[in-house]
């Protein structure tokens, strides 16, 4: 029997770490998005903010992915074959690629106001949709 199934508190703890991880990851990305949207809170540039939130984003994603894999291992067959979870994996891949190849470079550069806002909106949509995927997986 899977340890997380045998010890329910361990399952709960892993889920808490998952929520904490994605809250840190999404929250730290959202802080950069706020700057891109022109509602920044710092005297520094968006590039400076992105540089300082970067490690937190990495930490949050690592925590969320590792705990997510542990949760997945309790019932891999159902997770991997479920369309909502498949959508979540693709969205996660897309969000990470987008973050590295579009969001990061734009945050470090000097984009026009329109481009900066568009990049921030797509970023917020991508990351928050992962939360919706996770919940809707559990309910469908």
């Amino acid at each position: 029997m899977h340890p997380l199934i045998r010890h329910e508190w361990l399952y709960g703890l892993t889920e808490c770490l998952h929520v904490l991880g994605f809250a840190i990851a999404i929250g730290s990305v959202a802080v950069v998005d706020l700057h891109l949207l022109g509602w920044g809170f710092s005297h520094g540039t968006t590039a400076g903010v992105a540089r300082q939130t970067g490690p937190w984003t990495t930490l949050g994603i690592t925590l969320a992915v590792l705990s997510g894999l542990v949760i997945l291992s309790t019932d891999p067959g159902r997770y991997l074959s479920h369309p909502v979870m498949q959508a979540k994996f693709m969205t996660l891949g897309g969000a990470i690629i987008y973050n590295a190849s579009v969001h990061g470079p734009i945050a470090r550069g000097t984009p026009s106001r329109g481009l900066a806002m568009a990049v921030a909106c797509v970023s917020l949509l991508l990351w928050t949709s992962l939360v919706f995927d996770g919940i809707f997986y559990a309910f469908t």
Binding site: E8, W9, G12, E15, C16, V19, L20, F22, A23, I24, A25, I26, G27, S28, V29, A30, V31, L34, W39, G40, F41, S42, H43, G44, G48, V49, Q52, T53, W56, L124, W127, T128, V131, F132, G134, I135, F136, A138, F139
Partner: protein, 162 residues
């Protein structure tokens, strides 16, 4: 004489039209729940940024008082959406939630978040001359992290009571 129990009050609450509709809907309930969590993530960023600044771990090029002021509106917006969704979730299953010890602890922590805000209002959150690296600021940030970790954990743990 029959005393009204918490479960009875919860039952009356969740029998109200809107709460029954949410509980019995296929998509509204998970949508509200996901919004509650997504809000935690997005607006948790504002809390994270404020606390990191108070601790002096990030954004030190900007005065802490300014970071707090600029992020205040975001925290309010996030908090209102989060509480609204939370009320809908808890209200639609009130008879179970009201007697759930983890939900009760969560509400207690939520009360402590309010007290935390009041206690540090003058010295930190509404202090335009907040000194960088002040003990009050660091204490407020540390307690804020602890309280929010507790809220998050208890929120998840509600599902484990039966």
């Amino acid at each position: 004489m029959h005393h009204l129990s918490l479960a009875d009050i919860g039952q009356m609450l969740q029998d109200l039209g809107p709460f029954t509709a949410i509980r019995e809907s296929r998509y509204v309930y998970p949508f509200v729940l996901a919004t509650h969590l997504a809000c935690l993530a997005v607006f948790g960023g504002a809390i994270l940024a404020t606390n990191l600044r108070l601790l002096g771990w990030a954004f030190i090029d900007t005065p802490a008082a300014l970071v707090i002021t600029r992020l205040r509106a975001w925290k309010y917006v996030g908090f209102i959406i989060m509480i609204t969704c939370g009320l809908l979730i808890a209200g639609s299953k009130a008879s179970e939630y009201f007697v759930n010890p983890y939900f009760q602890i969560k509400m207690l922590l939520l009360g402590l978040v309010g007290i935390h805000a009041l206690v540090f209002r003058g010295s930190v959150y509404r202090n335009p001359t907040l000194v960088d690296g002040s003990t009050d600021g660091k204490t407020a940030a540390t307690l804020s992290f602890v309280l929010w970790m507790g809220l998050l954990s208890m929120g998840r743990w509600i599902a484990y009571f039966d």
